[in-house]
């Protein structure tokens, strides 16, 4: 009668000491790898930055598909201060927070306003700029009053999932609101007359009105303000658990403001301070 497991003997067995040697080698490799990445991270932190790339003058692509703009320059300055190795990832606005949470990148530097609703999902650094929202309309539209009552029957365009779109949906009930994937598309439909007004960031609109397409239009009404909707300005969004990165970012932000780097970048794009 065959004993159970007897035939196991037929398999090659480890010779004495051989297994131990292999185990040592394996552990050694792991320790070395950990040490090396540890050393590398001490030298150069890898930070992936998500941005939209369709929001001039803050972030957009130039003709050679390089990311350019105020946000990008600020991001690069921050990375330099943090001694981090930064890479950029372009992501559609609609999915920009979900992609951060899904670990596709580590920080959003894309002119994102710090609002209470977003703070439920992500953490924000201190603001890095703050510009008011404004309405634009076609020249000669005769619109001066931009209160919800005065705009009854008009069509207002905005980029979807922005602070501007939530503001419109909350306050301008009874006014038709059209939402677009990008700010450019919203502007295009204002120029063609499908919409009567567009609500967006004043700087972004100002930049657009300098272009050929944007020459059709002008600001109407005063600055649109609402702390609840527009928050405390634009900040850098991070995952809530990345507290270390948040501290580093805030420190770097304070440094570039203190040493004049921020001012230099600001001057490059705007003749006035937007902080």
């Amino acid at each position: 009668m065959k004993r159970p497991f007897e035939n196991l003997r037929e398999y090659p067995r480890w010779r004495k000491g051989e297994l131990m040697k292999l185990l040592k080698l394996f552990c050694g490799a792991i320790i070395a790898a950990v040490l090396m990445t540890g050393a590398a991270s001490a030298e150069m932190k890898k930070v992936r930055i998500g941005t939209e790339g369709a929001y001039p003058p803050f972030n957009s692509f130039d003709a050679d598909k390089n990311l350019i703009g105020f946000d990008i320059d600020i991001a690069k300055a921050l990375c330099e201060k943090m001694k981090a190795d930064c890479t950029f990832v372009a992501q559609d606005w609609d999915g920009i927070i979900p992609a951060l949470l899904a670990n596709k990148y580590d920080a959003i530097i894309a002119s994102m306003s710090i609002t209470a609703e977003r703070e439920k999902k992500v953490a924000f650094t201190n603001k890095y700029y703050n510009t008011p929202a404004r309405f634009v309309a076609q020249k000669g539209s005769g619109i001066t009053d931009t209160s919800p009552e005065a705009l009854k029957g008009k069509v207002i365009g905005a980029q979807s999932s922005t602070t501007h779109s939530t503001y419109l949906e909350d306050i301008y009930k009874g006014v038709e609101i059209k939402l677009y994937g990008t700010q450019d598309e919203a502007n295009l439909d204002l120029a063609s007359g499908r919409t009567d007004l567009v609500l967006a960031d004043s700087i972004v609109l100002l930049e657009w009105m300098k272009t050929k397409d944007g020459a059709c239009c002008e600001f109407v009404g005063k600055d649109v303000t609402s702390e609840k909707h527009f928050g405390k300005g634009a900040g850098i969004a991070l995952r809530k658990e990345d507290t270390e990165l948040k501290a580093a970012m805030n420190k770097a932000l304070a440094e570039i403001i203190a040493d004049g780097t921020y001012e230099k970048i600001n001057k490059k794009y705007f003749p006035f301070s937007i902080y």
């Binding site: 609609d94 979807s160 939402l179 295009l188 007359g193 499908r194």
Partner: protein, 278 residues
């Protein structure tokens, strides 16, 4: 003389049940995988069920579903109206008419639906003064109309090709027979050719409608709040992945209803080909 012991006869071993072939094992494995995925997806909906969330987004998504159904139905019906003359033009004796019809089909089958939708919507915006002169701006101003216009032209091209192929597939003898009976060309089409062509065209037609239902999601990028548009909006507000799952279920339900209708239609159209059960 002894009796033969029957039990001693050697019999071939009878295998019980089906054999475990590789195909069977793989098949069961794949089915198990499907069941597992379905289980986790359904579990996700059940576990994450939130009355407030559902109350806020589900009605809007159902509204979007209704827009999708309207958009597809109108586009398919109006496309069919254009498709029939187009199919005839494709086989016309005049070279110019044939060429024009071919050019139309060539363009709409050869470019992506999303590009066509952008071209119509933002293109119309650029030509506003011209369109206003022609009194057409009111139509192109509305995003829904633009989507409907694009989808109708697009599906007309596909439907025309399906119809043309199906008509060409009807045997020549049918034409000759009808001619010999002295039937007019119109009557021949309506009573003889088309009923036979529809049998061939039925399945490709069903496919085309399914493509249209799924393709209609393109409308969401030109600001129409169809099912996909509402889903994207809900996702960008809630960051909750399950809204896409709901949308998938709704699209699946639409296609399933269509599939069942098509099975019934096929039975009806081919009833003369069935042998009676006597």
């Amino acid at each position: 003389m002894s009796t033969v012991d029957i039990t001693a006869v050697e019999r071939p071993e009878v295998s019980s049940g089906r054999p475990w072939t590789t195909g069977r094992v793989v098949g069961i494995g794949v089915l198990a995988l499907y069941a597992l995925i379905a289980f986790f997806l359904i579990r996700m909906i059940v576990v994450n069920y939130d009355t407030e969330f559902v109350g806020r987004y589900l009605p809007r998504m159902l509204g979007g579903l209704w827009i999708t159904i309207q958009l597809c139905t109108s586009a398919i019906v109006m496309g069919a109206v254009i498709a029939f003359p187009l199919a005839l033009a494709r086989t016309h004796t005049s070279r110019i008419i044939r060429g024009a019809a071919y050019g139309y089909v060539y363009f709409f089958r050869g470019t992506p639906l999303i590009a066509q939708a952008f071209l119509v919507y933002y293109g119309a915006g650029q030509f506003r003064p011209v369109l206003q002169d022609w009194g057409l701006w009111w139509f192109f101003r509305d995003a829904y109309n633009c989507a409907l216009f694009t989808f109708t032209l697009n599906t007309a091209a596909y439907q025309a090709e399906i119809l043309r192929g199906a008509i060409a597939n009807v045997h020549k003898g049918q034409w000759e027979g009808a001619h010999a009976l002295g039937l007019s060309k119109l009557i021949t089409y309506v009573r003889v050719i088309l009923p036979q062509a529809f049998i061939t065209a039925l399945r490709p037609y069903g496919n085309e409608i399914i493509f249209m239902i799924k393709g209609s999601a393109v409308a969401s990028i030109i600001t129409v709040f169809d099912l996909m548009g509402e889903t994207k909006l809900a996702y960008s507000r809630s960051y909750d992945f399950q809204v896409y799952l709901w949308a998938a279920i709704m699209y699946l339900a639409m296609v399933e209803v269509l599939r069942r209708c098509w099975d019934k239609l096929e039975v009806r159209l081919t009833r003369h080909l069935k042998r009676s059960e006597e």
